[in-house]
């Protein structure tokens, strides 16, 4: 049987690892390579690494850093941050990354998904939606670390992106980021209804129970989390953790 995926998501800012709350107040949590080494030992299902500076600084992905991370990873790696062209996507995949995540560029030019997926295969193309609840219902898509609002309908875009050849969608709740009070299940349900491709959810997991509950409700799904796997306790001491095989088994 296929198992749901439980995925640590690491954010890179100023070459260090950080964790944010609602996309703000980034707290330094350590060295990226060191974190990858620990997650290797813990045999994590997958890893998502997002460079949250690249798009905002309007610069190329840091290929040297990506290569170093990919060299270290003994699990599948999804990299996102600053990717704007098919050539960049191909270059990153050639460094030993399994999947590339794109976001802001998609909303300017959705057809790029088709171009990239034709070249590298749909299975390696992930589209990230950073979303925030609207005041009066529904959701807005944001880019550039939630500084930029996209005036397009989330559910329509999700379907369009899927039809253009995306292989996976990550839905990241800005409201729940770092809050550790659980995923936005309503949001997940709405998006999942539209999808025939794998979906990964991010934003809000505070306990393994949050992950277990989401899997119970939605079946085969990717559950990603940042804070849950890097912080421990009320005062958020930095300590990397991840459930072992038995711990995971209880969640399925």
């Amino acid at each position: 049987m296929l198992y749901p995926r439980i995925i640590p998501c690491l954010l890179i800012h100023n070459k260090g690892l950080v964790k944010t709350v609602k996309f703000k107040d980034s707290k330094y949590v350590g060295d990226p390579i060191n974190a990858v080494k620990i997650f290797n030992e813990k045999e994590v299902d997958e890893l998502i690494i997002l460079d949250i500076d690249a798009t905002v600084e309007n610069r190329e992905p840091d290929y040297k850093m990506i290569e170093n991370l990919a060299n270290e990873c003994r699990m599948p790696l999804c990299y996102g941050g600053g990717i704007k062209t098919t050539a960049q996507a191909q270059k990153i995949l050639s460094l030993g990354v399994e999947k590339i995540a794109i976001s802001s560029v998609v909303f300017d030019n959705p057809e790029l998904i088709k171009e990239i997926s034709t070249k590298v295969g749909s299975q390696s193309v992930v589209v990230v939606f950073d979303v925030r609840k609207k005041l009066f219902g529904g959701y807005d898509i944001h880019t550039h670390n939630a500084k930029n609002k996209i005036k397009q309908d989330l559910l329509e875009l999700v379907e369009r992106v899927q039809n253009l050849g995306a292989g996976e969608i990550i839905i990241n709740s800005i409201d729940n980021d770092g809050v550790m009070k659980g995923y936005d299940l309503d949001l997940i349900g709405k998006v999942k209804n539209k999808l025939n491709i794998p979906m990964t959810v991010l934003g809000g997991a505070g306990t393994l129970k949050d992950i277990g509950g989401t899997i119970e409700k939605f079946g085969i799904i990717g559950c990603a989390a940042g804070s849950l796997f890097v912080f421990k306790g009320k005062y958020k001491a930095v300590l990397i953790s991840y459930p072992n095989v038995e711990g995971k088994q209880k969640l399925f």
Binding site: D45, A70, L93, G121, S124, I197
Partner: protein
């Protein structure tokens, strides 16, 4: 000496890292001369079938590769699209495969998927061994490996199938015919099970 074929596709570094860690001699092959004293070959692959076939064709390695595998009978292990390329053809593309194994590559039947069974088939799945094979030595009979694909390998000769996985249907996820081996999953990204499999291949 294990030769890891680098034709610009697939996670070459991941294989060399694992063999480095296992202290097993290996070499990345980017030109014909690198095949000298290579006893076993890894053929990685990801992405679209035709794109991979074109790149392999352009690499200038194909002729030597065919000779080593078909005439000199050196053990070869195809990974993911590397396995799919060993078949005669793929529904994903229009180009012919290497045709080393009596098999075709088919697209998962869409009607059985969607909703609770999304495609691509992505994540950790049980690999069910059909027959005992040295490739799976010291690996549990239904150990988990990492999969990432939308097309599957279909053996024409059923005896070539040495393990199956279940997703919508049962499909061959590991194949062996004489010196030719292939796995649909990614041993280089499957933690200790994957490492064991790559070690087993080196011990063939």
């Amino acid at each position: 000496m294990i030769g890891i074929v680098d034709y610009g596709i697939g996670n070459i570094k991941a294989f060399s890292n694992i063999y480095k860690q296992l202290d097993i001699p290996h070499r990345i092959i980017t030109s014909k001369k690198h095949f000298k004293d290579v006893e076993k070959i890894i053929l990685p692959g990801v992405g679209a079938f035709d794109h991979a076939m074109i790149r392999l064709g352009e690499s200038g390695l194909l002729e030597t590769l065919n000779d080593l595998v078909l005439n000199k009978k050196k053990p070869v292990l195809g990974i993911c699209v590397g396995m799919q390329m060993m078949a005669k053809s793929s529904e994903e593309g229009v180009l012919s495969g290497l045709g080393w194994i009596e098999a075709t590559v088919n697209k998962f039947n869409k009607e059985k998927f969607g909703g609770d069974k999304p495609l691509p088939h992505m994540g950790w799945n049980s690999v069910n061994q059909i027959a005992s094979n040295p490739l799976f030595k010291d690996i549990n009979v239904n150990a988990r490996f990492y999969f990432l694909h939308s097309y599957y390998f279909k053996s024409i000769n059923k005896e070539n199938s040495i393990a199956f996985a279940e997703y919508g249907d049962q499909f061959t996820c590991a194949t062996n015919q004489d010196n030719i081996f292939g796995v649909q999953f990614h041993p280089e990204k499957s933690h200790h099970n994957g490492m064991q499999l790559l070690k087993n291949f080196s011990n063939l």
